[in-house]
């Protein structure tokens, strides 16, 4: 058989297929990295994920200690357990990364995301949007005669559900922060 007939990626037995696709199921993990807030640190983290072919579902970053210049990066990623372990080890190898925590396995944690939703409409639609927002405990942070901006915090699932409800009611724009997460209880 000619070498050219091989479909790309068909070499499941090869040295390049580093992950045994049958071995494990894909899991979703939330990782928290404490990093030095120096230029390029976010590029290093993102470059690691793109360069090694890992997934990023959500990524948030902000300085959490202004005097010590430390930032917290929260990444939600998916992969088999072996891949997740690799991701953690690779993150830990980045020089300005001080700590890597897998909140998904290190005990219970809380995850929150903030979303801003611009919804425009008139009459009944507008009333319905307001009523649903109330049920979801979303706040109105801007309003005109034809539009609202709702602010909602919650788990990503809750924000997804809110988006689904707003779509038929005139959803125009969405901005989401991505997940921030902390482990529960005292450290």
């Amino acid at each position: 058989m000619s070498a050219l007939k091989i479909k790309k990626g068909s070499t499941s037995h090869s040295a390049y297929e580093l992950r045994d696709p049958n071995a494990d199921i894909v899991e979703r993990h939330t990782l928290a990295c404490i990093v030095e807030n120096e230029p390029g640190v976010l590029a290093r983290v993102i470059g690691l994920f793109s360069g090694r072919g890992y997934n990023i579902e959500s990524l948030t970053v902000a300085e959490i200690d202004h005097t010590g210049h430390m930032s917290r990066i929260t990444v939600v990623t998916t992969g088999t357990p072996a891949v997740i372990d690799q991701i953690k080890a690779q993150l830990g190898r980045i020089v300005p990364v001080h700590e890597v925590h897998d909140l998904t396995v290190e005990g219970p944690s809380v995850e929150r995301e903030l979303g801003l939703f611009k919804v425009s409409g008139k009459g009944d639609q507008r009333v319905e949007a307001l009523r649903l927002a109330d049920i979801f405990r979303a706040n109105v942070v801007d309003s005109t005669l034809e539009s609202f901006i709702f602010e909602i915090t919650g788990t990503p699932e809750k924000i997804d559900a809110f988006a689904d409800l707003m779509r038929p009611l005139g959803l125009q724009e969405v901005a989401r922060t991505g997940v921030a997460a902390l482990s529960r209880g005292a450290i």
Partner: protein, 584 residues
């Protein structure tokens, strides 16, 4: 004591304080202030290369042969981009080097200024870490951090990008002692529980094998000593990757030769059949493992590595030990001795018997010729005529590299410089220059292929200028031999673009640079020609015309397990199936 000085002066001061004696570099507009400071002092020797790639490989050669970081100084833009191949090479092979690049002044960054490149952006994925220094006050500290990162943990290349205004401005110099203590302090001691588990496995193993790599060499000479002690005390066989050659002496009683794609039959068979694999400072590279799901199927696997990301990356292991090879070996020896120095004597005796049978295959035998020089023969003669000398070997990349690994022997660490992970043609010649700089009185030989050698041949100028008597031993098959071999085995003998056409007359080329050239094509003349090369006090280009169609064996074809090696031409037909052809 804090001192005020310009950024340019700081660079030179920091290098001195880091114990640097040699810098490989090439000037340009963005580093002129630093070159001015180099001009004004005599402690640091600057070697003017002929291409920035050469500077980085030379620094790698320097680093590998000394264990100390190699240092490079180049200008912004093209100077920095020319360094990228060398940086990637050093990253793949874990070589500590510190590259200093000039940059356009801070107020011009982002304006597409003349010779501006986003150097930290371009080199982020090919350095262990890099820095853009925007304030002169931070320059000295950053350079000290750079040295710390380059040599700590798993060593690697680092880069410091220094804008020109930062070089001109004055700031406060801090000495290494007063520099910020880095939070980057990789774990060096291995977990004693895991070490004890390994020792317990060693006591019971009937078919153990040590599989060692470049990590042993990177850990320092003490690690090699401890490895020798452990191997000889336990009586276990030992094989090594390309990168680890010399950590255990080739003349050692338990040495099995290199393993891997072109490794020895006995080494690969033993890896496949062992019941305990002890990986020390190697990384289960795909050149080593072959087909993963058939890799050493019946063994318990232990892995000692200072880089946690190497553990379970490719092969899941039973006993992971994160730590520095030297520290871990010391603890393994301590625990093993304290538990009564036990091994499974009967099992080992049988195991060595089996290894003896595999050795009888004599996998490195080849058909010699009286008419044409076989490359294997050329290396056997080079070995015989140089092995008792204070010798360092570099190589380029290709068949000659694999033959060099097979037919030359290494008794000590740091004597073998080859581009393993990246496989960079053009590495060997500049590397030999770096080695010779570090070891002026030693015999430094670059075993080269004609095609690779041409990739950085401009460094002849450097070798001549600094009177570096590097010997360029070119196994000239007038082919991109390794490519030709794969085309023969995998692509129906369609030799697409794998000839070395229009080659220079290497003797005249040598003479054009003022060096000595030697050509040899008759096996009967070979010894005399090699002796003539060795006798010449200066750089030599040795054009050794060899058999053009020789293939490099043994070979584990892509996609095959260790116990399905090809031993010679007879066995190659249809050996590599389509599934393997897609692999590199």
């Amino acid at each position: 004591m804090a001192r005020q000085m310009t950024g340019a002066k700081m660079v030179v001061q920091a290098l001195k304080d880091q114990g640097v004696d040699t810098v490989f570099g090439y000037p340009g507009g963005a580093v002129l202030p630093i070159y001015d400071e180099i001009f004004l002092q005599n402690d640091i020797r600057h070697i003017l290369v002929r291409h920035e790639q050469g500077a980085v490989h030379a620094a790698e050669g320097y680093a590998r042969s000394t264990g100390r970081p190699g240092v490079v100084l180049v200008t912004s833009g093209p100077g920095a981009t020319n360094a990228v191949t060398g940086l990637t090479d050093a990253l793949m092979d874990s070589i500590p080097i510190v590259v200093l690049t000039g940059q356009v002044p801070t107020f011009m960054i982002g304006t597409d200024g003349f010779q501006e490149a986003d150097t930290v952006g371009i080199t982020r994925p090919c350095t262990k870490h890099n820095w853009l220094v925007k304030e002169t006050d931070k320059l000295a500290d950053t350079i000290h951090q750079a040295f710390h990162v380059a040599r700590s943990g798993r060593p690697g290349p680092v880069l410091v990008d220094i804008p020109k205004d930062v070089q001109f401005a004055s700031g406060t110099y801090v000495a290494p002692k007063s520099a910020r203590v880095s939070h980057y302090q990789p774990q060096v001691k291995g977990d004693i529980g895991a070490i004890t588990k390994l020792v317990a496995a060693m006591e019971k193993a009937e078919r153990p094998i040590f599989y060692t790599g470049g990590g042993v060499i990177n850990s320092g000479p003490a690690a090699s000593q401890l490895l020798r002690e452990l191997v000889d005390a336990t009586g276990f066989p030992i094989t090594s990757t390309l990168m680890g050659l010399g950590a255990y002496p080739a003349s050692g009683k338990h040495w099995m030769g290199m393993l891997g794609m072109h490794g020895l039959y006995e080494a690969n068979m033993a890896m496949h059949d062992c019941d305990l694999m002890i990986n020390i400072g190697a990384r289960f590279d795909d050149r080593i493992t072959g087909r993963l799901d058939a890799f050493s199927p019946h063994s318990t696997k232990a892995h000692v590595d200072i880089d946690p990301s190497s553990i379970n990356k490719v092969i899941r292991v039973d006993i992971p030990i994160i730590g520095d090879v030297g520290h871990v070996l010391e603890d393994i020896l301590k625990v093993w001795k304290s538990r009564g120095r036990k091994t499974h004597k009967d099992g080992l005796a049988k195991w060595w018997g089996k290894i003896g049978d595999w050795r009888k295959v004599a996998c490195l035998s080849y058909t010699n010729s009286k008419k044409v020089i076989k490359p294997q023969y050329a290396l056997e003669r080079l070995e015989a005529l140089t092995k008792d000398r204070d010798r360092y070997i570099c190589t380029e990349v290709g068949q000659h590299q694999m033959w060099a690994a097979q037919y030359l022997t290494f008794e000590d660490p740091n004597r073998w410089m080859t581009s393993g992970g990246l496989g960079t043609m053009g590495y060997g010649f500049p590397a030999s220059i770096g080695v010779q700089m570090a070891h002026p009185d030693a015999l430094v030989i670059n075993v080269a292929g004609e095609a690779s050698w041409l990739m950085n041949m401009q460094e002849m100028g450097t070798a001549m200028q600094y009177r570096l008597p590097v010997k360029q031993f070119i196994l000239n098959n007038e082919r991109l031999g390794m490519v030709r071999q794969w085309q023969e085995l995998l692509h129906g003998e369609r030799y697409s673009q794998s000839w070395s056409e229009s080659l220079p007359d290497f003797v005249k080329l040598a003479e054009a640079f003022g060096a000595k050239g030697i050509i040899c094509k008759d096996p009967a003349d070979l010894d005399d020609a090699i002796l003539e090369m060795l006798a010449h006090d200066g750089p030599v280009i040795f054009d050794c015309l060899v058999e053009k169609h020789e293939n490099c064996f043994p070979m584990i074809p892509s996609g095959k397990p260790h116990n399905e090696m090809l031993l010679g031409n007879a066995s190659t037909k249809d050996a590599i199936q389509a599934g393997g052809a897609v692999l590199v």
